[in-house]
Structure formats: C-alpha cells, structure tokens
Amino acid sequence: MRPALALVAPLALAAAVSLAGCTPAAPAIPPADLIGASLDTLTEGPGADATLLVQDASPRVGASPSYTGDPDLDAAWQIVAICTSDADVARSSQIEVAVLPEDLVTPAVEADVASGSFRDAVDCAGRPHHG
C-alpha cells in the first residue's frame, strides 16, 4: 500500500491546489459603472473602506450645495463623476466623487452626465481612473 499511497498523495495535493486556484475572483468594478448610481451604492458597497472625497456639484445646475456628509442621506445623492486610485473600485484606497441631489438630476442633466460634462467636477489627483 505504501507505494500506492506515495503516488496518490501528491496527486491529491495537486488536485486540491488546482481546485483552490480555480476559485472565481470577484469581478472588477470599473469606476464608470458607478456613474448614475446613488452614493450609498458606493459607500455601503465597494467603496466602504476607502478614503472618500465628496464634491457637491450643485452650483453647476444652479442650486446651492447641501451635502452634509451624513451617511444616512447618501441614498438621496447621485454620483455624476468619479475617479479612483485603482481600476477596480473595490480595490481603491482613494475615491473621489461629484454628486448631485437626486431631485436635481433631470433628463437634461442626465444627458450632460452621459456626455461627460461633469468629468471635470472631480480633481482626480492621485486617483487616475476616471468614470
């Protein structure tokens, strides 16, 4: 039995290592996927552990800034621009977003966001991956 065991043991180990290597990794989340999402999607999800800078871009649509940093109100804010320190939002230690209150995001504003008009609403220094 011993020779058989000596043959089987390495094969079993190799199979175990191979199976472990096949564990699927979580798919990367590109920053562009967060454009148009509510802020809590980021702060309670892939950006939960990152240092986060939030720029209130309300003056760009004629409103006064009102973001307070209260995480309970993040669901009422929409991300209109984002840049991250890693191509995968979940792996980013630094994230910067520009936000607008949901009720200010009209179809016209949505079109502006889609055309990239808000891309310069974030500074992105040290956060080269743009949304």
Partner: protein
C-alpha cells in the same frame, strides 16, 4: 626540526594538557555578572487636542461655489521618536498609546461653499507627548552608567477627530 619549532610544538602540547587539566568551570561564579541594559521612558508629559502637521487628505474644489466633504477612512500616522535603540513597541507601551503605525479616522468634515481651485485640507488631531529615554547599564544589581536622551516627542492621532481648513 629546528630548536625553535621544537619549542613551539612542546609549548603547544603543554598548553593543551594544561587546558585539559583545568576544564571550564561549571558554575557561574568565575564569570563577571552580565550587564543588563534598561531603557525607560521618563519625564513624560502630554498635551491633548493638538493638530498634526501632516495633511491626511486634500480636496481641490472643482465646481465654483461647491463644497467638498472629506469622509472617514483617512489614515493618520502615529509618530514616535526613539533613542538608544529602544523599540517602537516598548516606547509606545511605556507611553501608553497604541502600537500601530497608523490610525484610521472615522469622522468627516465638509467645507463651506468655496471658489473653484480652492483646496480643503484635513489634518489629524491628537495628543503630543514630550519625554526622554533613559538608558541604564546594570551589573549585579548596581547601576554602572546612566544616559539620558535629548527631549523627544510623539504624536498619537485620534480616530474620532480631524481638523479641516484651507491651510
């Protein structure tokens, strides 16, 4: 073999025999007592509520009249000056502060409405410690020498406080 080399060989043999006849002592009494080095943090004082010099996060306003909020997760460095080879772990333990190199802050701060191009910066707030490190060499219960470092400082950032401003 010359007379000189013969003498050397004989001398070597005598030495070996002598060594064998007087083996190393089995008790410690024949050795000098070991010298122990003692390092202590002394003359400690502290001052709370101090703003650290290093910016831990900075936000450049991009919308004229907009605001920026710097949120949780910023990392502030714990700084401890050392002397006489004292370890970080020993110094922080004697200062009574955490031993981690960094502290992750949990609070946020929002700027007022600012002009585009203005920077809003966050700095850590914490306690500054002033102290010296005393080194003593002790042998057989007697202090053989004492050295004292110059004035040293440590900064222990708070996780729940930051200071934000334009400068």
């Amino acid at each position: 073999m010359s007379l000189l080399s013969h003498s050397v060989v004989v001398g070597l043999l005598v030495s070996l025999v002598s060594f064998a006849a007087h083996p190393l002592p089995s008790d410690n009494s024949a050795y000098p007592p070991p010298k122990l080095t003692e390092l202590r943090v002394v003359s400690k004082s502290s001052l709370g509520g101090q703003i650290g010099s290093k910016v831990i996060a900075s936000c450049l306003i991009r919308s004229d009249g907009g605001t920026c909020t710097i949120t949780r997760g910023k990392t502030a460095s714990r700084e401890v000056q050392l002397s006489f080879g004292m370890s970080w772990a020993s110094a922080t333990a004697q200062l009574g502060i955490g031993s981690g190199r960094t502290v992750s802050t949990t609070v946020s701060c929002s700027s007022p409405a600012l002009s585009a191009g203005t920077s809003w910066k966050a700095r850590p707030v914490g306690t500054i410690y002033y102290y010296k490190i005393r080194k003593r060499i002790i042998q057989a219960g007697h202090v053989m020498s004492t050295d004292l470092s110059s004035q040293l400082t440590a900064f222990n950032p708070s996780a729940s406080k930051i200071a934000c401003g334009l400068h």
